[in-house]
Structures are given as structure tokens and as C-alpha cells.
């Protein structure tokens, strides 16, 4: 029963993921695309939960859906109609090869999994510390301290960059 339920949830979340992904790239109106992305992120959070990565799921909803998408929506609302660029355009070969490349990538992954997934089929038993905030925190501050610090610098740089871009834009007709 439990397994069946998990499967059902999994199928729902996976299809929601893929459908919203396709929707993101298909809508003309960027607002709809952004909303579709939020759906995508939510589905992914569900998938994370299914693999017992609770903290990542929570962070996903908070950071991504909460902060990043809000930023996106703000900008889209600000730009309004001007962001409505047409869907397709450019050289035909480009469009064709884009689709081909994308499909090839997907196919490749699937093939690789089918072919080489023997080792991946058996997952070890995990305990309750797997994916818990305590565990994540411990790893961040001990094994992966450097990554943690570098990430904080990256965030700082991005903040500064955002402010700089904003300030430059604030002197509109002085040039």
C-alpha cells in the first residue's frame, strides 16, 4: 500500500514537473511561463521529499519559489508588454538543431540509465539523519566549509552587481 501510494505521488509529481517544464518554454506570455516555473519548482520539491531530502525541499520552496520567482514576477510585471518577444525566429536550421539537440540529450540520459544503472538500483538503508537540517548544517560547517564560504562570496558579489546595475539604470538621460 505504501509503495503504491509513493508510486502514485511520484507519477503525479513527475508529470507535473515535465508538463510545467514544457509549459515554461511554450507560452508566449512570460507571466504564464513564470507561473509554470513555480509549478515546476513545487513538483520538484515533492520529488525531493520522496527521496527523504527534507531540508532541500524546504529550501527549494522558500528560496526558489519564494524569493527567486517573486523577483522574476516583479520584473515581468515591471516590463509588461515590452517583454513580449515572439516565440520563434532566427535561422531555421537553428530551431531544428535546437530541438534535435535537446531530444538527443534526453534520449542519451535515458539510454545511459537503462544501460548502466545496475549499481544504482540498490539504494542503501538510510536513517533519520539523512537529509536532516542537522546533518546538512554539520556538513556545511565541516566537510564543505570552503564551498559554504565561496557561496557566500558569490552571493555578496551578486548583491553588489545588482545594486550597481540598478544605480546605472537610475541615470537615464544624463548620457
Amino acid at each position: 500500500m505504501g509503495n503504491f501510494l509513493v508510486w502514485v505521488i511520484w507519477i503525479g509529481a513527475a508529470s507535473g514537473c515535465l508538463a510545467s517544464g514544457v509549459a515554461v518554454i511554450s507560452f508566449t506570455n512570460p507571466f504564464y511561463s513564470a507561473l509554470a516555473l513555480i509549478g515546476n519548482l513545487a513538483s520538484l520539491a515533492v520529488l525531493y521529499l520522496l527521496v527523504s531530502a527534507e531540508f532541500v525541499a524546504a529550501a527549494q520552496v522558500l528560496v526558489y519559489a519564494g524569493a527567486v520567482m517573486v523577483m522574476f514576477l516583479f520584473v515581468i510585471a515591471y516590463l509588461g508588454g515590452r517583454a513580449d518577444a515572439p516565440w520563434a525566429g532566427g535561422p531555421r536550421w537553428l530551431r531544428l538543431s535546437a530541438v534535435v539537440a535537446g531530444v538527443a540529450l534526453m534520449a542519451e540520459v535515458v539510454v545511459a540509465l537503462l544501460w548502466k544503472s545496475d549499481r544504482l538500483n540498490d539504494s542503501p538503508k538510510i536513517d533519520s539523519t539523512f537529509g536532516s537540517p542537522a546533518e546538512i548544517g554539520r556538513l556545511l560547517l565541516t566537510d564543505h566549509l570552503l564551498a559554504f564560504e565561496i557561496t557566500s562570496i558569490v552571493l555578496l558579489v551578486a548583491a553588489v552587481g545588482g545594486v550597481v546595475l540598478g544605480i546605472q539604470a537610475r541615470e537615464p538621460d544624463a548620457d
Binding site: V24, L44, V63, F72, D84, A85, A88, V103, S123, G162
Partner: protein, 102 residues
């Protein structure tokens, strides 16, 4: 493990990545391109988390958090650029912005 085994999650991740790639290459609005990039990054995250489950250690999830932070900063800067382009009344079309043409 209940439900599908890890390869299934990895398959979803791969397909999502392909969708994101097609979106980056196919759309002309920089906003949609950024959104597609987000999809690709999330696909990567899913793969990381999947592998972390398959190994049974949480390091993959730590990495996923780092990716999330970097993605957030990248979106911040990217959106700032788009807003600056809009303020300068440039067309928001990646085909038009081709001054790097050789």
C-alpha cells in the same frame, strides 16, 4: 526504498535538462531564456539529490543548496541586466543583441 528507484529520478532530471536546453536555444526573449536556465539548474539539483540518496550520504544535498544559492545570485544579476536593457530601450531579443558578431 519505497516507490521508484533512483534511476527513475535521474531520468526525470535528464528529460527536464533537455527541455531546459531546448528552451534556451529556441526562445528569443531573455526572460524566457533565464527561466529555461532555471529549469536546467533544477534538473541538475534533482540529479544531485538523487545520487545523494543512492549513496546514502547527504553531501549531494549540500551541493544542491550551494547550486540554489548560486542560481539565485545569477538570476539577480540577469534580471538586473534585463531591467537595464529595458531602461535603455533596447529590444529584449537575443537575436538583436549580436554586437559580438565577427
Amino acid at each position: 526504498m519505497l516507490g521508484p528507484s533512483v534511476p527513475w529520478y535521474l531520468a526525470i532530471s535528464g528529460i527536464l535538462f533537455g527541455i531546459g536546453t531546448v528552451g534556451v536555444m529556441l526562445r528569443r526573449s531573455p526572460l524566457i531564456v533565464l527561466l529555461s536556465l532555471e529549469i536546467m539548474l533544477n534538473a541538475g539539483n534533482l540529479a544531485l539529490v538523487g545520487f545523494s540518496r543512492s549513496w546514502g550520504v547527504s553531501d549531494g544535498q549540500v551541493f544542491a543548496l550551494a547550486v540554489m544559492a548560486v542560481a539565485a545570485s545569477e538570476v539577480c544579476v540577469g534580471l538586473g541586466l534585463i531591467v537595464a536593457m529595458a531602461r535603455k530601450r533596447l529590444a529584449l531579443d537575443v537575436d538583436e543583441l549580436s554586437e559580438l558578431r565577427g
